[in-house]
């Protein structure tokens, strides 16, 4: 590498400066740990952080500048390879069967991890419609997740609804909430919209937390285990049905319920992926993306922005509601703690990391964010820290996410 001497010395000075700033900023917070009204010292921590900053800054200074330049402009990605429909159907089926057969070999623990990953894929897909396609930043997405989860738990408690009835009803209820939320915010965009949706999400959580007579308040509420044609996945029937393993003459295992939820959830995720991919190419999906790019132009061309925005909100919200039903069913219990703003930020991180608007990206990011803490146990404390840094760095270097999705556009015919 032919590096000029001035640049090297400049990098050294800047790295030293960054390290000093890091030392000052982390000194009191990492170096002096509060213990009651007293403190104990731990000066090694800020020194380590400063050394880390020094090294990272120095290495960043040595890299060619073009690597660090933000990639802002819309690089026309190479045309994706076109698969024939039957190839896509076959491939999809094979992946589905491969994943479904995991039920037979995976342990109860890994099944529950898989369920969690699928739930976050659903949440990511739902939020991706609102943020990625329609460009409406929604920071209260967790509210719809809560509506779905509580819709199932409360629906069972007060109306006697079962799992299968709850799936469509909770999705519709969450969609309705999405529309209600969407209506007043039609006029706003950008960051005001983000804050209003954040406010809505928090209001839903606080009401669930405080309305003790109806929701059980902070103590939460039990959600029933799902059944399949009245067959229960328990050692002994409790809801007046027959245990699944007795009908089929199998030995009872505690992982059956998780296996069942995993299969149903996998099917739902597959259907949602199909629906979302199709929606993108349909007029409504194109309208979402057009509205995101230029609202004034769209409205002057006669696009009904009310319907377009509301449909994005409702569609995203019902997918969030679906995820909520599965969350409640797999946990067997819901409480307001699960629906804090942090969940919204996490789902937003999934969408942002994956690439706004990219379905594949969202799936990969959701898998990464849910499986990474499992694989790297020792890093699980630092999980949120890593998410935070990832959100900042991706915004700076790859604002369109890790998977840069191809935008639908027309190219002039050659000739």
């Amino acid at each position: 590498m032919n590096m000029s001497r001035p640049r090297l010395s400049k990098t050294l000075v800047l790295s030293a400066f960054a390290a000093v700033v890091a030392l000052i900023l982390t000194g009191p917070l990492s170096g002096l740990v509060l213990e009651g009204y007293d403190f104990k010292t731990r000066f090694s921590a800020p020194l380590q952080i400063a050394a880390f900053v020094l090294i990272v800054r120095f290495i960043a200074g040595l890299l060619p500048e073009s690597w660090l330049a933000p990639r802002q402009k819309n690089e026309a990605a190479p045309r994706a390879t076109r698969f024939k429909t039957w190839q896509l159907v076959l491939g999809g089926l094979l992946v589905y069967i491969a994943l479904a057969s995991l039920v037979l070999i995976a342990s109860k623990y890994w099944l529950s991890v898989g369920i969690l990953a699928l739930i976050y894929i659903l949440l990511g897909l739902g939020l991706n419609i609102v943020v990625g396609f329609a460009g409406l930043l929604d920071l209260g997405f967790v509210g719809f997740y809560a509506v779905g989860a509580y819709g199932y738990a409360l629906g069972h408690q007060y109306l006697g609804l079962g799992f299968w009835a709850a799936i469509p009803l909770a999705a519709m209820l969450a969609g309705l909430f999405g529309m209600i939320l969407g209506f007043p915010v039609l006029r706003m965009h950008g960051d005001y919209l983000a804050i209003v949706t954040l406010g809505f999400g928090e209001i839903i959580r606080l009401v669930l937390n405080n309305w003790i007579a109806f929701t059980g308040g902070p103590n939460g509420i039990d959600a029933p285990a799902p059944t399949f044609f009245g067959w229960e996945f328990k050692a002994n029937a409790t809801q007046g049905g027959v245990p699944f393993h007795e009908v089929w003459g199998l030995d009872y295992s505690s992982g059956m319920l998780d296996g069942f939820i995993f299969l149903v959830l996998l099917t739902v995720v597959a259907l949602v992926i199909y629906a979302v991919t199709r929606l993108r190419g349909m007029p409504i999906g194109r309208a979402w993306e057009a509205l995101r790019e230029d609202e004034i132009a769209c409205r002057s061309l006669g696009l009904n922005h009310v319907f377009t925005k509301l449909s994005a909100f409702a569609m995203g919200a019902s997918i969030g509601g679906l995820a909520g039903v599965f969350f409640a069913a797999s946990q067997g219990f819901v409480s307001p703690v699960s629906f804090s703003f942090f969940e919204s930020a996490l789902v937003l991180a999934i969408v942002v990391l994956g690439g706004l608007g990219s379905v594949t990206g969202v799936i990969l990011a959701a898998l990464f964010l849910t499986l990474m803490p499992e694989a790297l146990r020792e890093f699980s404390d630092y999980r949120i820290l890593i998410f935070g840094f990832a959100m900042v760095l991706i915004m700076i270097w790859r604002p369109r996410g890790m998977i840069q999705q191809r935008r639908p556009f027309f190219t002039r015919a050659k000739g």
């Binding site: 002096l32 403190f39 930043l137």
Partner: protein, 305 residues
């Protein structure tokens, strides 16, 4: 209606409101100058709460026991530290995004907010922290069991908040620095052409906002005595509500909005329902943004092609 209770709630509301106002200044100045919601501002306030406890503990270790000296030295320490923090955040997480679309800085700010929360949690532990009571004593009116009171700490909060706001107003209105700020706010490109280093001005605005959040952080922490790494979120949102209520971008608006929000919240929790006071604040925020997004003193924004 009981006048003593009403008076008590009004006093509590004014005290609460003046701290909201101080934090709201950070939101309103940043929004005014670069048009972004600095979502991480609430976390800067949270960091200053920890700095208060650390500062007091270190000063006590060196044997300083005069409350006035303790408070003023802690405040200076917190102000210097958080200003540097605010400027660093702006330099690393927001400046590279100056030309990106509007959502990018907001998402980056959410990232910063997660980083600060988790960093403080990892370095200081997840448990509640506290500070000793430094200023005791109260001014009381009425009989033994039926009274209305103002603690000296509450008086100190209002006085310090007023001084800080007065000082800020002086800096913005009367000094060359403030003139550069106002010029940058009106037209950044033109200010730059006329020789103002707008990057420096923007960094400075972040520093000032963080410093005022630190003032609020020290005062609130001394008043309530306990905090954890999560206090920044709700207080931050409420201060943002105050900024929007007063008209985002307007300095007097931030203080007015803060005091109105503090009064409304405290009257609501005193006379209606204290469990739902956060719901009330959020509903107020949503209501203002929907029906009067320009706030009380703000200028309505015009959408241009």
């Amino acid at each position: 209606m009981d006048l003593y209770v009403l008076g008590q709630q009004i006093v509590n509301g004014l005290v609460l409101g003046s701290t909201y106002g101080l934090i709201a200044v950070g939101y309103t100045m940043v929004y005014g100058i670069i048009g972004m919601i600095n979502f991480a501002h609430g976390e800067v306030y949270m960091v200053s709460a920890y700095l208060t406890a650390i500062g007091l503990a270190v000063l006590a270790y060196f044997g300083i026991s005069s409350p006035w000296l303790l408070i003023s030295l802690t405040m200076v320490f917190a102000i210097l530290f958080t200003s540097l923090l605010g400027i660093t955040i702006e330099r690393l997480a927001y400046r590279p995004l100056r030309k990106a679309n509007r959502l990018a800085p907001l998402i980056s700010a959410i990232g910063v907010s997660l980083i600060l929360q988790n960093y403080v949690q990892l370095s200081q532990g997840a448990k509640n922290q506290g500070v000793p009571t430094l200023i005791e004593g109260v001014f009381r009116m009425g009989s033994e069991d039926h009274f209305f009171q103002i603690t000296y700490m509450q008086m100190l909060i209002v006085v310090v908040a007023l001084i800080a706001m007065g000082l800020l107003n002086f800096v913005v209105q009367k000094t060359a620095l403030g003139r550069a700020c106002r010029a940058t706010q009106q037209d950044r490109q033109m200010a730059q052409i006329l020789g103002i280093d707008t990057d420096k001005v923007i960094a400075l605005v972040f520093g000032i906002g963080a410093a005022l959040a630190a003032v609020a952080g020290v005062l609130i922490t001394l008043n309530y005595g306990s905090f954890d790494f999560f206090v920044g979120f709700v207080t931050g949102i409420k201060a943002f509500t105050a900024a929007v209520l007063g008209g985002i971008g307007s300095l007097p608006g931030a203080m007015l909005g803060g005091i109105l929000l503090g009064l409304a919240e405290s009257l609501f929790s005193g006379f209606v329902n204290s469990d739902y006071k956060d719901v009330f604040a959020f509903a107020l925020l949503v209501g203002i943004l929907i029906f009067r997004p320009s706030g009380l003193l703000g200028k309505p924004s015009v959408e241009k092609v």
